[in-house]
């Protein structure tokens, strides 16, 4: 079967779309890494004190 028709099949409506495509998985990885880089500076400076000072009263 030519490669092209396999690719077309993957766009058919009855193909389950719940398994993430490789491209989507790579985008997720990039998004997570970008987010981790973004918060890195704050975490290195503040994390321990922040955790210690997050104190709440019990509720319902």
């Amino acid at each position: 079967m030519p490669q092209q028709s396999v690719n077309q099949d993957s766009f058919d409506d009855d193909v389950p779309d719940d398994a993430p495509a490789p491209a989507a998985a790579a985008a997720t990885t990039d998004a997570l890494d970008a987010l981790l880089d973004e918060i890195d500076g704050n975490l290195q400076v503040n994390a321990e004190q922040f955790v210690r000072s997050f104190v709440q009263k019990g509720g319902q």
């Binding site: 997720t28 997570l32 994390a47 321990e48 955790v51 709440q56 009263k57 019990g58």
Partner: protein, 507 residues
């Protein structure tokens, strides 16, 4: 159609002053909410509450309960649809700054030491998501007004634990038929409440009430459930809460109050939490005996067992002597629930339920855009690798679960506005069910198909004559010969019409 509602207690801090009094912060936040709402708000009517009535038919003597349960005045009037008169009382009875009833039918107020948004009554799980998201947006508006008035900031967290032993809740309310035996209801619902966390859990860093052991678990609330059925909500917390306060015609209805659920920032998690439970309740109301095959031998222990079982394989002992995993219990519940689909939203719930269970059984990370604990585990897993250290053997060891950077990220995950979950959503990594337009409309507008419409609309159009409002009352203060307040009773939550309110709304 089933009436539902969702309440969220937010964590609250002043980042510049960690020792600030949370009750004061919460009161000032409600003031901020009132400032944001302007004229279009009213105070809360405590008239109809009866928090000491137990679903199991007994009423606790007032001297036998902890003081926090005493939230009621001593009036209960079940005259459905009627208008009664009430003497004016001193304004000290409800300090306005502790409550704001809003035009979207919600209540924003101080509960214990937390700000709480109690969403309006809705008729389906999708609407519950829309008005829950609206609540988060309103809380942020209140925080902005607070910052303007006070010159300092508050941070709000949609989570349930502080990691030091305190827990605060996110409560679901479901209207169920009064003729249902409460013990049967509790028994048949328990297996669902214990196992649904595999797709509704928000994820938590730390094991034990105080996070005594390092680790990650599925649910925020699991370690705080201590009994099967009970009246309390702040200690000895039960899987099924038995407070019997229907906020509706007592002869016909119960309001099932569920406190085991996690606060969720993922639409799909919120949707499934309410949607699946609605369907299981339909099966219980139909007296479906297939549910009895899912009776758990040790439900309280199982809540924690399931929460710690990230592989979703642990066996739970059933009363008939067999063993089933949480996934298997959920598959069985799904098969039963298929017979109770009563509308388009139910059908969406079933389709998603089936899909989620299939993917969770194959590879949990396939659900990372929908299931909050999986998304959190995925992000924090990458973070542990990023902050890993090299061992003597030249390998890399992941950062420990009790590394402060990991623990801090678990807290920051749920921060309203700028938290990690919000940032993931902004980066397109979280599936949304409610559109931004729907959420924006729900900030100001009430659902049109429940009594919340009457509450919201009268507050929006005639705040000048509204003295207070509650779930089942609107109290009017008009010039009248009798010189008293008029209490409009809205004892049917499913009715968006009342002759007097309709007339006032027509102008």
């Amino acid at each position: 159609m089933r009436i539902l509602g969702l309440e969220t207690e937010y964590g609250i801090t002043d980042p510049a002053d960690p020792r600030a009094n949370p009750i004061l912060l919460s009161s000032l936040l409600v003031s901020g909410c009132r400032a944001w709402a302007g004229e279009k708000t009213t105070r809360w009517d405590y008239g109809g509450e009866d928090p000491l009535m137990d679903q199991r038919g007994v009423r606790r003597p007032r001297t036998h309960v902890i003081p926090e349960l005493l939230t009621d005045a001593h009036e209960f009037n079940a005259k459905a649809g009627s208008v009664t008169l009430r003497r004016r009382r001193g304004s000290w009875e409800d300090p306005a700054h502790l409550n704001a009833v809003l035009t979207n039918g919600a209540r924003f107020y101080v509960d214990h030491a937390h700000p709480e948004y109690s969403g309006p009554e809705v008729t389906n799980a999708r609407d519950a998501v829309v008005w829950d998201r609206a609540g988060d947006a309103i809380a942020l508006q209140a925080a902005a007004a607070y910052a303007e008035a006070e010159g300092t900031h508050v941070s709000l967290y949609k989570n349930n634990v502080d990691g030091k032993g305190a827990s605060y809740g996110t409560h679901e309310n479901f209207q169920v038929r009064r003729d249902l035996d409460f013990d049967v209801l509790a028994r048949r619902l328990t297996a669902h409440l214990v196992t649904r966390q595999i797709y509704t859990g928000a994820g938590r860093v730390g094991l034990g009430m105080r996070g005594e052991q390092p680790g990650f678990q599925i649910s925020q609330r699991a370690d705080y459930m201590e009994t099967e059925v009970g009246l309390e909500t702040t200690l000895r917390r039960p899987i099924v809460n038995s407070r019997d306060e229907p906020h509706a015609e007592r002869k016909y209805w119960r309001r099932l109050h569920i406190i085991i659920g996690d606060a969720t920032t993922f639409d799909v998690a919120t949707f499934m939490k309410l949607g699946t439970t609605t369907l299981v309740l339909a099966a219980i109301e139909a007296d479906d005996a297939r549910l009895d095959a899912l009776t758990l031998v040790e439900p309280v222990g199982d809540v924690q067992r399931v929460s710690r079982d990230l592989a979703l394989r642990e066996g739970l002992h059933l009363a008939d002597g067999t063993v089933a995993s949480a996934l298997e219990v959920q598959r069985a519940l799904l098969e039963i629930a298929r017979d109770y689909v009563a509308g388009a939203v139910d059908a969406l719930v079933i389709a998603r339920w089936e899909s989620l269970l299939e993917r969770l059984g194959r590879d949990i990370f396939e659900t990372a855009r929908e299931v909050e604990w999986v998304a959190k585990l995925q992000l924090l897993g990458r973070m542990r690798a990023k902050y890993g250290t090299a061992t003597a053997e030249g390998e890399t060891r992941d950062a420990a679960w009790d590394d402060p950077r990991i623990a801090a990220s678990d807290i920051v995950w749920s921060q309203l506005g700028t938290g990690l979950s919000a940032r993931l959503a902004a980066a397109g990594q979280v599936e949304r069910l409610a559109t931004e337009d729907e959420v924006a409309a729900a900030i100001t507008d009430a659902p049109r198909d429940t009594r919340a419409y009457l509450r919201g609309a009268i507050v929006a159009t005639r705040p000048d004559i509204v003295d207070a409002a509650g779930w089942s009352t609107i109290v009017l203060d008009r010039d009248a010969d009798h010189g008293q307040l008029e209490v409009v009773h809205l004892d049917d939550p499913a009715s968006a019409s009342h002759p007097l309110i309709d007339e006032l709304l027509r102008g």
